[in-house]
Amino acid sequence: MTDWRYHRAPADPSARVESEADASSLFVYTIGLFLAVILTATSFWAANTSLLWAPGIGIGLVVLAIAQMGVHLVFFLHITTGPENTNNVLALAFGILIVLLVVGGSLWIMTDLDANMMLSPALMDLHMQR
């Protein structure tokens, strides 16, 4: 019965019912909201500013998005590195692996095809005529 320390449901804010656990969980959610707002605002600012080196903005936005997803996972879904979370983290790691394979693999193959099968400009014009 007392195996609670070995498993924890994802998004379960607290294992306890007392109010002091409640207060600390509230604090966790509020920190998460604060960080997420900062990261979102930075994303929107970076996409619209002319202060940054334009070709690097795309990568920067991806980094900001991954950071914000991490914030959501830790502060809202309570995925931690603790032993009670091992199952959740392993499932998440497998999910991330598949997502990376699908997105990265598709982009890699399609960019490669695009580069190798590009028609000459004259042929492309002919091809695009409707």
Partner: protein, 210 residues
């Protein structure tokens, strides 16, 4: 049912090896199963993201993202969904301490913010269709409507689910089974926000760059 209730209250017990601990509480098993489902949902979304990323320049002479997207509206949608994720967290705190007033209030705010998000998104879609930017116009627009529409559909289902859960809380009270369903709902809602982070970055911010 009593197992779940007991495991919920037991926290001070001395840790025992996992091999001697017996089956995990039902609450943990249910949430883990739902977590697996959500990860498979994320994998499905990753395919839609990949399609969009591949096709985002295939506008076939039609309108591009930079001409269609309104960043103010997207920022508002993002704010609504982020705040509703936060109030959903507050709702799970109220549920865990069995405060029905707090649960209803947080659920109401979550529902209102989610509905506001959906309203903004539908307005955006209607405006695009009115300008002739329909899904059949170009591969880019097909991919856009599939990805963002699929997320909007998930939000709609989430709102319906929230209404059903509030009815269950009102009629059946905070029984363990209702609490497990509410836990699954909050998992679902937080995950939708994570997917939206990917959408506003890939579609609305990176997608408008030349």
């Amino acid at each position: 049912m009593s197992v779940a209730a007991l495991a919920y209250d037991v926290d001070q017990g001395t840790p025992v090896p996992a091999s001697e601990a017996g089956p995990a509480p039902k609450r943990v098993v249910v949430a883990y199963g739902f977590w697996i489902f959500l990860l498979s949902d994320i994998v499905m979304f990753s395919a839609l993201f990949a399609v969009f990323a591949v096709l985002r320049r295939a506008t076939a002479g039609g309108p591009t993202g930079a001409e269609l997207f309104n960043q103010v509206s997207v920022a508002l949608e993002t704010g609504c969904l982020l705040l509703s994720s936060y109030t959903c967290g507050l709702m799970s705190l109220a549920v865990n301490s069995r405060r029905s007033g707090g649960t209803y209030l947080a659920a109401l705010v979550t529902f209102a913010l989610g509905a506001a998000f959906l309203g903004l998104e539908i307005r955006e879609f209607a405006g695009m269709v009115a300008r002739g930017a329909t899904p059949e116009r170009s591969a880019f627009l097909s991919a856009f409507f599939t990805l963002v529409g699929c997320h909007g559909l998930h939000v709609t289902i989430g709102l319906l689910w929230l209404v059903v859960m509030m009815a269950q809380v009102a009629v059946r009270g905070f029984r363990p089974i209702v609490q497990r369903r509410l836990l699954c709902f909050s998992l679902f809602w937080h995950t939708l926000d994570i997917i939206w982070v990917g959408i506003f970055t890939v579609v609305y911010l990176i997608g408008v760059s030349p």
